[in-house]
Structure formats: structure tokens, C-alpha cells
């Protein structure tokens, strides 16, 4: 059922440039980017138990890597998007050695501090435009329509790749190891799991995915500044999406992202109230029903579109 639905959805989305307009495509790119960030954060926190609130570091670094690669080094801007992920993944290795000294709540604040260091370092670098940022100039020679369509297909490919990659990781032996670490670190160590390397691998992998998504976001926006690129919202949105939708499920982020867009568009005239409402919902869900909206649906009707759990058949 999940496969048929996904295939139908994909056919509609692939055909979209034929009938949709530019603004629909831009919103879909944003949707896919937020969904990707949510899946990445879910993998990190919901499955591996690494509760980072500093993922905006990799969104910002990915965006700036895109600008440097495409504008300063002359790399094709679309090729620069996956390459930006490699840059953020490489930066994530030394960062991990620092933040892995913390556990739990202090890990969360530590990742946030690192994101602030990245923001301030870039805001003090003249070549990166200091506080006012940079514009992505490399795409302007391209025709506007072909740029928008290429960006859209790149986003679509990224969205599908993220979903497939997270699914495959979670179905693998490696994914089982991750969930074991989340549930008990000493316990999984006695079972022969290399805790440090497993955590490092997922942290760096998520940094790659987050960096690619950040580059995609700024390929879509064309203008980057430190305050926007390293905004805590790049972590707050995914957290609210995942918590409301359902932590530790693949379907949860989908439900959560859809709800996020509904609330944001519905309250677009009312300033910051959509964030207050989403924050309140997330806190309420955590208190009352920590499995989220999708958990409610899944336990009520026993449906799983992307079953990553293993069950003994009776």
C-alpha cells in the first residue's frame, strides 16, 4: 500500500512542472527541504538518541559552501549542492569530537554553541560578506524557467533519496545498532556494538544530508546571510514537525510537515503566532501522547506505510 501511494505521488510530482506555476514549485522545494531536515533530525534524535539543537550549523555551512563552490570556485551550481554536503560532512568530524564529550541536555546546548561559533565566524569573514551575506550569482546567466525546473527536480531527487536512505539505514543491521544505543548505551556496548563509531557515522551522515538540504534551500532563495542561515528556526521547525508528527517513525515527519505548512499558511497574517501554536502543540504532544499524530493513527488502525519495525508473525 505504501509503495503504490508513494509511486502515485511521485508521478504527480514529476509531472508538476508541466501544469504547476513557479510559486507552486518554490513552495514544494521548501516542503521537501523541511521534510528532509525533519527526517534527518528524526534519524539523529528519534533513532540514535543524539538530541541536537544545533543542526542550523549544517544548514548554514551547506548554504555558504554552495555560494563558495558555485561563485568563487566556478563549480556548476547544481553539482555544488551535493558537493556542499561533502563539505559539511567533513566539518562534522572535528565538531563531533567536541560535542560528543557531552551527554543528553548538555549535548543539546553544546551543539547550539557550535552553531553560534559558525555563525559568528562567518559574520566576521569579509570574503563571505560579513553580516550582510552574499548573493548566489552563478545561476543568473541561466534562463529563469530552466533554473527553477532544475532546482525543483533536484529537490525531488533529494526528497526521494532521503526517504529511501533513511528507510534502508533503519532496516539494516546498522539501524538496529542505532536504536539499541538510543535505548541503552552500556547494554549495546556489551552486545558488541562500537558505540562511538556508530554515533559518529550517523552524526556525519546526518550532517551530509542537512548540508545538502541547506544548499538546496539557498539555491532556491539565492540570497544568504549569517543570521538567516544559522537561525535556530532551522532546528525548531524540524523538531516541532517530528514531535507533532511522531518521533521515531518515518511517516511522522510527513504528517508533521503537512501540518506545519497548514498552520503557517493559515496564520500567515498573524505574525509569530504560528510558532507559538506549533510550540504549544509540540509540548502538548510530548506531555500527553509522545508517539505523535502518526503514532495515534498507527495504533488505532495498525497501518504502516514504511514499516521499519520488525515483528514476529503469528
Amino acid at each position: 500500500m505504501g509503495l503504490v501511494g508513494a509511486a502515485l505521488g511521485l508521478i504527480v510530482l514529476v509531472g508538476l512542472p508541466a501544469w504547476g506555476d513557479a510559486s507552486t514549485m518554490r513552495i514544494l522545494v521548501e516542503f521537501i527541504a523541511l521534510l528532509g531536515l525533519a527526517q534527518m533530525w528524526n534519524l539523529l534524535a528519534g533513532y540514535a538518541g543524539l538530541v541536537s539543537i544545533g543542526q542550523q550549523a549544517y544548514v548554514g555551512l551547506g548554504g555558504y559552501a554552495l555560494v563558495v563552490l558555485a561563485d568563487d570556485l566556478g563549480v556548476n551550481p547544481f553539482l555544488s549542492v551535493p558537493l556542499a554536503g561533502l563539505v559539511t560532512a567533513a566539518l562534522a568530524v572535528p565538531i563531533a569530537t567536541l560535542v560528543f564529550r557531552f551527554r543528553g541536555g548538555y549535548f543539546a546546548v553544546g551543539t547550539w554553541a557550535i552553531a553560534e561559533v559558525c555563525r559568528l565566524l562567518i559574520a566576521n569573514t569579509p570574503a563571505l560578506g560579513r553580516g550582510s551575506g552574499r548573493t548566489l550569482n552563478a545561476v543568473f546567466p541561466l534562463a529563469r524557467e530552466s533554473r527553477e525546473i532544475t532546482t525543483y527536480f533536484l529537490a525531488l531527487a533529494l526528497g526521494v533519496a532521503t526517504l529511501v536512505a533513511v528507510y534502508l539505514v533503519l532496516r539494516s543491521q546498522y539501524g538496529l545498532g542505532l536504536m539499541a544505543i538510543r535505548d541503552s548505551e552500556p547494554g549495546s556496548e556489551t552486545l558488541g556494538i562500537d558505540v562511538f563509531r556508530t554515533k559518529l557515522a550517523v552524526y556525519v551522515g546526518v550532517a551530509f544530508g542537512t548540508g545538502v538540504t541547506g544548499a538546496l534551500v539557498y539555491l532556491n532563495l539565492l540570497r544568504i546571510s549569517p543570521d538567516a542561515a544559522f537561525s535556530i528556526n532551522w532546528t525548531a521547525y524540524p523538531i516541532f514537525i517530528v514531535v507533532i508528527g511522531g518521533l521515531g517513525t518515518l511517516e511522522g515527519p510527513l504528517v508533521g510537515t503537512a501540518l506545519f505548512f497548514l498552520v503557517r499558511e493559515g496564520l500567515s497574517e498573524r505574525g509569530a503566532w504560528y510558532m507559538i501554536l506549533l510550540g504549544g502543540l509540540a509540548v502538548g504532544v510530548m506531555l500527553v501522547y509522545p508517539h505523535g499524530l502518526w503514532g495515534l493513527v498507527a495504533s488505532r488502525w495498525d497501518v504502516h506505510f514504511f514499516p521499519v519495525q520488525r515483528r514476529v508473525r503469528r
Binding site: A45, G49, V51, I53, L98, R101, R103, G104, G105, Y106, A108, V109, G110, W112, A113, E116, V117, L120, L121, A123, N124, I232, A236, I239, F240, V243, L247, G271, A272, W273, M275, I276, G279, G280, A282, V283, M286, L287, P290
Partner: protein, 292 residues
């Protein structure tokens, strides 16, 4: 030149008093219940805004307003702990992090909606600019001195409370071993409520002193959390007086960095924190005793 640098270092040391006030509340909560309150900084800014309201509507002096705001914040802390955070006990590390993070974002955006994005400041009527000469061309502001004195008093008070009173003994016991403490008849839910009340009472003092020292906006909270966290880590987890040293190290790093280049103040503070983390991860004053 030299006087300028000595002055910069002295300013930084005094700034450490303010950071210690922020750090103590954070450290206390972590010591007692092993959770990090991610809304810590935003709650201090909430207290500062409440003081603004008290000053503007009741015509109070900021220090008099603090006498209203501190108990109010303590009550809020008790309610927050009993009604919200205690429900998350025993459910792992994730729920408290996510709930306090959600509160942080909610508080920021409510402050934005209610007080707009304008920056505010509390005016104590002259003391914030008065200074005392201490030989040579060196002068120290009364207000930073007062802040440091208050920080030392708060730390002394906390030390006395933890070391001598029955509730302090219960806090230490819960910090060391929650289950055994419960078996000995300690009502840890009530105790956690009291610890959060104490933490937010101290945070109210920190917020009001911050609001007198400098301007603040709805978005000033996260930096306060980061500075508090960095002071705790630099000083050494679980060390009461370490937070004062950590705050002073952070304060000096920031003032010296800002003197070298205007954009580098806060960044230098962060970099010194990272250096401590890299070369002395247990902090400067790590202790076996983990509380506060």
C-alpha cells in the same frame, strides 16, 4: 595603553559576576534532576520584561520591582516543575530537552507579540553609570561591583542552604541517588518543584541585573543560556564556586576579544570555551560533589 588593558580585564572579571548568576540556576537544576532547562535564558528575559511592566505600570524602582518579580518567577518555576516537567520523569533524556526547547521558542515569540521587537532597558536612576576610582586612572562602575557582590551572596546563600538545611540535605541526597533518596522518604516531586523555584528566583535576579546593565529584546534569551552553559563547563560541572570562576573567565575573554576587534567579543568567549573543552574537558574546578 596598559591602564586600558587592566581596565578591560577588570570589566571582564566583574561581568563574570553576572554570568555566574545565570550559570548557578542552570547548574542547580542539572545537579538535582539531571535535566538542562533550555528555556533558562528566555525565562531570565521574561523576568526582565516583567520588571519593565512593574516599573512602567506601578512606577517602581527596578530593584523594588525585583522584589515582586523574583517570587513571581519562583512561583512560576514551582508550577512549571510540578505541572509540566514532573510528568516527564522517568521517560529518558529526550522529553525534558524537547519540552524546555518548546517553552524557549514559545516564550520568545510571546514576548515578540506582546512587547514587539523593540529593545528595552531598566533604568535604576544613575547607579548604572556611577563609578568609583580605585587608584591610577582606573575606575570601576558601582553597578558591576554590586552585581558581583549579589552573585557572591547568592552563591553563599546557596552553599549554606545546601550544606546546612534539611532541604539542602535532601537535594544532595537526590542528586547522588534519586531512588535511594525516595526510599528514605524524600518526596522528590516536591523537592524538584522547590529546586526549580529556587533556580527561577535566581534567574529573575540575573534577568533584572542584565536589564539594568544593557538593552535586551525578546531574542536575548538564547545567548544567556549559552553563556550560562559555558560558565558551568569552564568552571567545572558540579562546582558551585567554579561557576563564578567560569563566568569570570568567559567575561574576560569577551571583553578582551571585543577590545581587539569589535565583532570578536562573544566569539572569543565561545572559542575560549571550546579550548577548555578540548584541553581540560572536566573544567577548571571539577569536583566529585555534583550538586549546584
Amino acid at each position: 595603553m596598559t591602564v586600558g588593558w587592566v581596565d578591560t580585564v577588570v570589566q571582564g572579571l566583574l561581568l563574570g559576576g553576572l554570568y555566574a548568576l545565570f550559570a548557578t540556576g542552570l547548574s542547580l537544576i542539572f545537579g538535582v534532576m539531571r535535566i538542562v532547562n533550555l528555556a533558562h535564558g528566555d525565562l531570565s528575559i521574561l523576568a526582565a520584561f516583567l520588571a519593565v511592566v512593574a516599573v512602567e505600570s506601578l512606577g517602581l524602582h527596578p530593584f523594588a520591582a525585583l522584589l515582586l518579580v523574583a517570587p513571581l518567577m519562583a512561583g512560576l518555576g514551582y508550577g512549571l516543575q510540578r505541572l509540566v516537567l514532573n510528568r516527564l520523569l522517568g521517560r529518558g533524556i529526550l522529553p525534558p530537552i524537547l519540552v524546555t526547547f518548546g517553552l524557549s521558542i514559545i516564550i520568545q515569540n510571546v514576548l515578540l507579540e506582546v512587547f514587539s521587537a523593540d529593545s528595552r532597558r531598566l533604568n535604576p536612576g544613575g547607579i548604572e553609570t556611577a563609578s568609583v576610582a580605585i587608584g591610577g586612572q582606573l575606575a570601576v562602575g558601582w553597578f558591576p561591583l554590586l552585581t558581583l557582590a549579589v552573585a557572591v551572596l547568592v552563591l553563599l546563600g546557596l552553599q549554606g542552604l545546601i550544606g546546612r538545611l534539611a532541604v539542602g540535605r535532601a537535594l544532595r541526597a537526590t542528586s547522588d541517588d534519586q531512588e535511594t533518596a525516595e526510599l528514605m522518604g524524600i518526596d522528590n516531586r516536591r523537592l524538584y518543584g522547590l529546586a526549580m523555584a529556587l533556580s527561577l528566583g535566581i534567574v529573575a535576579v540575573a534577568g533584572v541585573f542584565l536589564g539594568i546593565r544593557t538593552t535586551f529584546t525578546f531574542a536575548s534569551g538564547p545567548d544567556r543560556l549559552l553563556f550560562a552553559f559555558e560558565a558551568v563547563i569552564i568552571g567545572g560541572l558540579g562546582s558551585l564556586w567554579g561557576t563564578l570562576v567560569g563566568g569570570a573567565v568567559l567575561g574576560v575573554a569577551q571583553t578582551v576579544g571585543a577590545k581587539l576587534s569589535p565583532g570578536w567579543g562573544i566569539l572569543t568567549g565561545h572559542l575560549v570555551f571550546l579550548a577548555v573543552l578540548l584541553f581540560r574537558p572536566q573544567g577548571l574546578f571539577a569536583k566529585a560533589r555534583r550538586i549546584a
